[in-house]
Amino acid sequence: MNPFPASDYIVAAFFLFCIATTVGGAFVAILTARVIRSVCGLMICCVGLAGLYFFLNSPFLALMEILIYIGAVCVTIVFAVMLAEPDEPPSGQNHGPGVLWGVVALVVSAAICWGLSQLSLRGPWVAPAARVNDGSIKAIGVSLLTTYSMAFELISLVLLVAIVGALVIARTGRTKP
């Protein structure tokens, strides 16, 4: 396959687009007052994140990001939003404790941001491998059940707790008269 002129620039532009989508989606998610638009921002953010995963040579993870975070998580959030009140126009300015909590949140997030940037700038990172294994289902399955079995089991435990919790909450209102 002959290289296409300016293909590097196209790739770079796409990479920047992914970053812009991730950051822009995150901003939409936090800056809007309507819950449904926040979910949309989260969705845009996930699409951008999937693009970044793709640039890290892991298309499987990128597609899983879309399938799980948009197809499942966002849909579930929206379902919960629908059961709640319809979104109302944002209420007036709230002062007092709101501002205090805002400052606390700002400090905490600035600290997290500083820590993460220190980690990402100083950390002994290796360049993303072009291909760790053949990326097939078999390879993913084997690594999930051998190398990462601990994380895998922990995640399934979390999900089990969530299911049991949902059952407990849903069952309490259903006592028979």
């Binding site: 638009r37 399938l67 948009i70």
Partner: protein, 329 residues
């Protein structure tokens, strides 16, 4: 002849869009004609021979209408929702193997890609319903979410069953495994899964529910919800949803063809090619239309009960059965 990669992709993109547009226009004609035949009436006859130009006339009519955004609606989401319905269907077609070498992108996780982008569809129809601020649209949006969440589970379980048999998510390889006579198709691979036809039936049912087609078109139940999530859309806004519905039918049927019916493989091992793919796909598309005009719409609770009480246990059973058979045989 080898075009540079971007040009090849671009030409495929144009081709896929033309394919989707053509299909949407003429499947509407097929639908109207066959519905008319099922109901013993002639259907469209006026525009062109046997009404063949009717879709074009309808398209021009829809394009020339004013786009109205209702005053209470969430303007941005209302305008974005039709686009979001259309794009995932197009992206899914990128990885679809139409023929042996006729596919835009041969990626390793093609099957997953179709599912990932298919799952966006729910979100976009839901957004269209929610942003309209119309009570029918909101009821329809709530129905769509619960319906698609319910049917996504058996569909994924069925596909996992199939994945265990094929061992690959590359759609082209899945087709190539089904080479030869028609009993090599995944539909008839009874030696690994004696319930394979049932699996296909579950898949087809879930596909009907996922693309919101009758008898599962609770989202667009025109006798109770006007037009469901699309009530407030005028002109081409509605037209895009209509096109997207047919695009999703084409994508779903192509997917069923590739996974179960051997894709572009010929049923007797000769003259394989894209025509076999199209033949099988359109047979399935016709079945979808046929089902719509044969069965009445289900009730919403029956719909959910069918999924949670019948399809999910059945698909779990086939999953365990296939796992056991692959382990011990």
């Amino acid at each position: 002849m080898s075009l540079p990669e971007p040009f090849r992709l671009l030409s495929f993109l144009v081709g896929v869009m033309a394919f989707v547009g053509f299909n949407a226009a003429y499947l509407v004609w097929v639908e109207r004609k066959s519905a008319a035949r099922f109901q013993r009436r002639p259907g469209p006859t006026e525009v062109g021979y046997a009404g063949l130009l009717q879709p074009i006339a309808d398209g021009i009519k829809l394009l020339s209408k004013q786009l109205i955004v209702p005053p209470g609606a969430d303007r941005i989401l209302f305008m974005v929702a039709p686009l979001m319905v259309m794009i995932p269907a197009m992206i899914s077609l990128v990885v679809l193997p139409f023929g042996g070498s006729l596919m835009a992108r041969d990626i390793n996780v093609g099957l997953l890609m179709m599912f990932a982008f298919g799952s966006i569809n729910v979100m976009s129809i839901m957004l269209s319903g929610w942003s309209s601020r119309n009570k029918y649209a909101i009821i329809s949006a709530a129905r769509i979410v619960s319906q698609d969440v319910a049917y996504e589970i058996p569909m994924l379980l069925v596909v996992i069953t199939l994945l265990m048999i094929t061992g690959t998510m590359n759609l082209n390889e899945i087709v190539q495994q089904q080479e030869g006579w028609f009993w090599h198709w995944n539909l008839f691979r009874l030696n690994v899964n004696p319930l394979m036809p049932l699996t296909f039936l579950i898949f087809f049912t879930c596909m009907l529910a996922e693309i919101n087609r009758a008898p599962f078109d609770m989202a667009e139940a025109e006798s109770e919800l006007v037009a469901g999530a699309f009530t407030e859309y005028a002109g081409m806004g509605f037209g895009v949803f209509f096109v997207a519905e047919y695009a999703n039918i084409v994508v779903g049927c192509s997917f069923a063809t590739v996974l179960f019916l051997g894709g572009w493989q010929s049923p007797f091992g000769l003259w394989s090619g894209v025509w076999w793919f199209l033949l099988k796909m359109y047979a399935l598309v016709f079945t979808v239309i046929w089902v719509r005009w044969t069965f009445p719409r289900t009730q919403f609770y029956n719909l959910l009960n069918l999924s949670w009480q019948l399809l999910i246990p059945a698909s779990l059973f086939t999953l365990i059965l296939v796992a056991a058979m692959m382990k011990f045989l």
